[in-house]
Symmetry: C2
Subunit: 508 residues, 2 copies
Amino acid sequence: MRRSRRGRHHGQTDTSHQRQVIYRNLKNPLIKQPAFSADRLEAIHDTALRVLEELGIKVLNSEARQYYAQAGASVDEASMMVKIDRELVASALETAPSEFILHGRTPAHDVTLGGDNINFVSVGGAPHISDLDRGKRPATLEDTRNIIKLCEHFDIIHLQSPNVESQDIAVHLRHYPVTQSQLSLSQKPFFIFSRGSEQIADAFTMTRIAYGLSQEEFEAKPWCYTVINTNSPRQLDLPMCQGIIDFAQAGQVSVITPFTLAGAMAPVTMPGALVLQHAEALAGILLSQIVRSGAPVVYGSFTSNVDMKSGSPAFGTPEFVQAAFGAGQLARHIALPWRGSAATASNAPDEQSVYEFLMSAWGSILGGVNMMVHSAGWLEGGLTGSMEKFILDIEMLQIFAEIFEPLKSDDAELAFDAIANVEPGSHFFGCDHTIERYQTAFYEPLVSDWSNFGQWTDNGSKTATQRANGIWKKILLDFEEPALDPARAEELQAFIDRRSAEGGAAVD
Amino acid sequence: MRRSRRGRHHGQTDTSHQRQVIYRNLKNPLIKQPAFSADRLEAIHDTALRVLEELGIKVLNSEARQYYAQAGASVDEASMMVKIDRELVASALETAPSEFILHGRTPAHDVTLGGDNINFVSVGGAPHISDLDRGKRPATLEDTRNIIKLCEHFDIIHLQSPNVESQDIAVHLRHYPVTQSQLSLSQKPFFIFSRGSEQIADAFTMTRIAYGLSQEEFEAKPWCYTVINTNSPRQLDLPMCQGIIDFAQAGQVSVITPFTLAGAMAPVTMPGALVLQHAEALAGILLSQIVRSGAPVVYGSFTSNVDMKSGSPAFGTPEFVQAAFGAGQLARHIALPWRGSAATASNAPDEQSVYEFLMSAWGSILGGVNMMVHSAGWLEGGLTGSMEKFILDIEMLQIFAEIFEPLKSDDAELAFDAIANVEPGSHFFGCDHTIERYQTAFYEPLVSDWSNFGQWTDNGSKTATQRANGIWKKILLDFEEPALDPARAEELQAFIDRRSAEGGAAVD
């Protein structure tokens, strides 16, 4: 398997690029780390069910309350409170698929969610962008398109993300160029914001046009996803409910992610925060299954803690890591794909941003994450997308992908003959065993500099972040658009022009 | 257990320090990750035994060859090659202890090596020191003493290390002030270089004087350790053999660590490098047990890969992580404590230095490391000790320690009542459940900055490394020496004066 993923280019003279890698369709073979014993895991699940049964969840969307009521939940219209029996939850967990394929423009870009499959998703929802040249500033469509291009460039990014916000485009029109950019600059499964039925319907139509699908073909398979953040504690707002309903009706993917910050919107204890997360996620999952039995849905978590002095969210903390272990257990307990995160609160693409990112990434990966969101370029607790951090994160993700590769250890790898043929105190640089393998033996880093101090000083004493600056620029410069069929591209533009002329799509 | 480690200070008015933690005597509860199936692990072990039986190891020290010969190994004096039967290795593995205590000046500073115990050891053997103010420069005794103070200050550092080299002191005299500094500025178990019998004997005597021990009392327990690096491939040099012999005779600890860089001093395949590592370590372990049956010894590994373009060593690579998983398996296979590393090749305390460090640290920790060397302040592949990197690393080690703490999840932690008492869409900031716990709920970071972008900018837009600069300076300024008994300190100084006047101790 390692061999097949690490073949050499043939007939190529540039020896610096002889190791070719494909990081699609990764599986995570690491043993999953638990946070809780089996009985305490069951207690957390049971307490979440009690929250839904005895306390209920406030549902601001009347259509959603109707769905819950039809399914047999107890709905109080005056308070908008919905109380849900555990049998209802159990039936939803029976119909929600444990594993499914989210489709790209080509089959090579399909991703599988669930099981041991692991997928990386880049920065999501940041209003600002930053780079070393221009600093932090409101993001524009150009920035959004740049991030889409970086995501398309790197195999290790498996899905397009909520990206940075194109703040130069009004919200009622923003989904047109953003969705168009995702469909034309990238072939990967992509994200649609849940900002009301009109915007969702527009984006679905654009997908059908770009991919040449009938309505029936579109609804037969998942092609895109949305993220549903609950208003913790215990509240589902208008557009979030509508997103679950619209995506389920169309057979597309909802990633239901309570943002349960322990000590703020959730209890100060991590198990308490997970109880709340679990209850809210189950309520959303249930809604999707009421709308369409078997609709693809992902169990999301974003449980972390806050700085108790300031109330600011913190990420990559020990509490975050333990919560990730626990959230992964809960997802396996209900047999659903799990979405986790890699995150940082740092204000700069600095050393803190790296250790917070990497601690949370290890937590998610050892927790068994299937969809790791904010995996590249996320900064400042999600307020900024950073071009240099994007490159640093790609390096770390690629290292993870290489760690996932089973280590080949047949007798030739054990190298007894090579050891026999090298004199004591000598070296293996020139021996056949090395010559046969050295060009493809090791991961070649993207941004790491292994030169000695003198060479590094001669090259300007650049930090990794400074080196990353040149890397993203070169990728954007060299980017080749995976062009859409011209007729479809034209139809897509005509649709956008018409809808824009009609006034766009208001946000609920 | 969490509660007992996280008690509040009483009668203290500075509320920013109400969470007190003790990071001594850590256990690592994480499930250990394997690199190999049981049969391939056995194949690696078996191939290492074949290397010792059929190929042998070159032993440059004649006293060591005599020991091997007496024990029944086949010794060729002309080539200095020693061939070792597997039965000899097996008998050594029966007498070497699986777990033992390495003693500090006080019982509170004792550490346990083996089992699930995990100990962190800071930078070892760097000739240079660097900080943001003065850059990189040859290290001096003052720098060595500064590192000793930082190690003593932080609970999370469990053993004193080879530190940076006091290059302002000639090598034949260097061990006097360095060992004196370790004994007077710190209470933790400490390191002695294996630079010949005279230096080792001097350091042992200094330890007896400082701790008030008879020769018999000293030899009855381990108080200090040395690191033995083989000259890979398949060679043990003069001082390394002598170190094993002298430490074993005195009942002190040898950490036998082949430095097997895949593609350079070891086969280019990681399993091949581990075969060589294992063979060399077993040869050293055997020597210790021949000299003194039951002598405390640690199975060390430092297997990584090189940059095949330049031959430079690389650390924190995916290959490093996989080798760490495998080395941990090998250590458990032979039931010995395992020494691993956290390392980086970066030339600066930058983002690369953090992700390489943290990848290798996770590899070692998931491999089940008992003694993680170079865990604070190591830079540039070991050529430089960095004051700022030391602080960054401490932050990461403390996060690990918190992750190791079992997450309490009794019914009160599940917070059903708190969830019931907080309105939907509201928050938990003021509720009783939070108030009762918030001061001790979460890890308080050392260097992470969780302020918002505006505050961070107002504070000078400092990176984590820049903030670390102020932290180590304050610790050194406030450092209180854990003074030795004055009579012992005086006797120690008299010994040093006498030995210095006699000309010190030549290095073999």
